[in-house]
Symmetry: C2
Subunit: 412 residues, 2 copies
């Protein structure tokens, strides 16, 4: 048997009892003859509690120090899970990010994995140990502790699987798989038995919340076979793999949403070639992820640009732009929060130009105001008022024929 | 100005507000032109909470995993204290044990510092940063996280001071200095303005609780000037230094006590030369600290030996001996808990043989049963029933003339 990487998120390790349940599941995989590497997050609300301590200490907690603080959460979990496995008579070996050889760049709070040195892990696996790695963390070239940002434990798991050439990477979470929409918002949503990397990437980026987008990207690049399943039941999950291996491609596979969107409009920018370049370079230097970008017609002397960011980064983005007022010479900047994004995703959409039209019509007939639009080969996204997001998801789910049991169609 | 190392214990960093107070004190030392290195413990009850989590996970939590778990406590504190200093506009640099170059042996839970590589700290100090080091922890030759055991943060501070050739090492604690006895037990106790390393070492070993014995040992070896003072007030503390530098040597400098003593008696051991050697070698291999040892007369065929250990290690010591029954061929083993040790300490005692006699008389007149006795050049210790410990400390304090204000005598 080969190497299996299992990842358990914060809810799955939220208490002593749950960690003991995780230990049982890990022990099962080990008993089947697999070499098992486990990646874990911090227990339940630990990260939030640590963030709250930091905010009491500093108006803007510095990022390197935040990383030192937050990484203790996973370190507690690896110790406890190892103890639980050893209590069962198994050999376990806890490793922090730096011990597991996870080397990142130096962008604290949002570091990217540069490479993994898997020698220590391999040595321990060959000695019969189950290796328990702290997710979400690594070490910078300067020897400082870094974090990959929220959701980074998924990335840790996939990167480990790629580096160890693992047979598969199992992401255990609090849902039973990937759904055609969030079942809490669209009760008619159904579970997908399989989905392509590309579709999953769009869904992840669009806030489906099941998998961190970077982890899907990494899985796609390294052809790591991903399984998303529940840590609380034995139900089969969703397999994420190559599109070519799938039986059928649907027009629209799912409806995703993101309830935390801010839009920023910069008005009256001089229409010079370097203006937009400067603007988005500075935002990127401030490590702000810009999502959608729309500009007004370019024929005039001055143009306007609107872009969307995660709501948490709205203030920071606005600050960056205010500092650029002299340099860019724009007339005004307006930021708007309380927005959401709904998206339809499907690998078959590229050959089916009617999808966009149907999406706009559906939203418009439901009286939902579309504020921004962005399209790719396999998705169409609309920014709308947040208070209409739930209605939008349900309406689109029905309009694109997703209310029918999806598995049936796939296996037809 | 030179390098100053400051150590703040768990009570001193027990809350957000207290960490902010510590930041003020650190900032003061920095403002005076010192290069400042700070060592901190885990916040208040953190360590106890982590131990409780571990005990829920495992009957006997494995020690390597305990170290991974417990070291998160100090890591949280270094992050928060750095944030508090940076909030004041100072440059701070948090470092875990491994980042600070603290190399230990591989005895988890009780590791000893092998050497410190101070290069990273020096580089940061020279760049104007205040360096905040997690106390109590280091890294083993295998790259595993180790802890120095409870009280190890004192040792971290002194070892750092030695390695950095610091001007002095300030130990901030919840008491204002070293007293002639524990004021909670003997209200007539008074603060010492200075004390020799040797005396402090005996007091530390005897459970005075102000400084960890290993830290005093390390300070003595490397001639690190120690100051013990309160983190809650500006009062001068107690200076710990070379005996030769002190103005006068007293007969008895203080009365110490330890309320957690267990005694183990091994009866009917064959009187062979290797028997005792085997017994104590095995106890040492199990990393049990044996304190006092008393043996019966050696003329007979079989002998008995009694020794004392910390109460927490009583069961483990008994187990080790039970496993040696076949090898040693002793007749019985009896362990007794509920004991305490009281000791009188003073560098002048060696030239004053009457001290022992006066101590035994005093205890005996007070109706206190002496169960074991041990003496060194500068201390005499007696094991007595725990419920008589408080009475013993007070009576001895009075009998040796310590009730008078001590400072007056010293400065006479």
């Amino acid at each position: 048997m080969g190497i299996v990487v299992q990842k358990f998120g914060g809810t799955s390790v939220g208490s002593v009892e749950r960690i003991q349940k995780v230990a049982e599941r890990v022990a099962q995989a080990h008993a089947k003859g697999n070499q098992v590497v486990v990646t874990v997050s911090a227990m339940g609300k630990t990260t939030d509690e640590l963030v709250s301590l930091a905010k009491q200490m500093s108006d803007h907690p510095p990022e390197r120090e935040m990383d030192v603080l937050l990484t203790t959460g996973e370190q507690v979990t690896i110790a406890l899970l190892s103890m639980a496995l050893m209590q069962k008579g198994l050999q376990a070996h806890p490793m922090t990010g730096w011990q597991a050889g996870i080397h990142t760049d130096a962008i604290h709070g949002k570091a990217r994995i540069d490479h993994i040195d898997p020698n220590k892990i391999k040595k321990c696996l060959d000695a019969g140990e189950i290796v328990i790695v702290a997710g979400f963390q690594g070490i910078s070239p300067d020897g400082e502790i870094t974090t990959l940002g929220r959701g980074g434990s998924d990335t840790t798991a996939v990167a480990l699987a790629a580096s160890l050439k693992a047979e598969r990477c199992e992401i255990y979470t609090d849902v039973t798989g990937v759904y055609t929409a969030d079942p809490r918002i669209a009760p008619q949503a159904s579970k997908l038995t399989e989905i392509s990397y590309e579709e999953m990437l769009e869904l992840a980026n669009l806030g489906a919340g099941v998998l961190h987008p970077r982890s899907v990207e990494c899985a796609m690049t390294h052809q790591v076979q991903l399984v998303v399943r529940s840590s609380f039941c034995e139900e089969d999950g969703t397999m994420v793999k190559e599109a070519g291996q799938m039986e059928e491609e649907m027009n629209v596979r799912g409806v995703a949403h993101d309830l935390h969107v801010a839009r920023i409009k910069v008005l009256g920018l001089p229409n010079q070639s370097e203006t937009l370049s400067t603007l988005f370079t500075r935002l990127s230097e401030a490590t702000i992820n810009v999502d959608m970008i729309v500009t007004s017609e370019h024929e005039q002397e001055r143009i306007s640009v609107a872009f969307s960011v995660h709501e948490e980064e709205g203030d920071k983005a606005r600050e960056v732009i205010l500092q650029l007022q002299d340099e860019l010479g724009y007339q005004d900047v307006i930021s708007e929060t309380g927005l959401a994004k709904v998206s339809t995703v499907g690998a078959g959409m590229v050959t089916n130009p009617g999808v966009a039209a149907r999406m706009f019509n559906t939203l418009s007939e439901a009286g939902i105001k579309i504020k921004m639009v962005s399209t790719s080969e396999i998705k169409i996204s609309c920014v709308i008022p947040r208070d209409q997001a739930q209605q939008a998801v349900r309406t689109l789910h029905t309009a694109f024929g997703l209310d029918a049991k999806h598995e049936v169609l796939l296996e037809a």
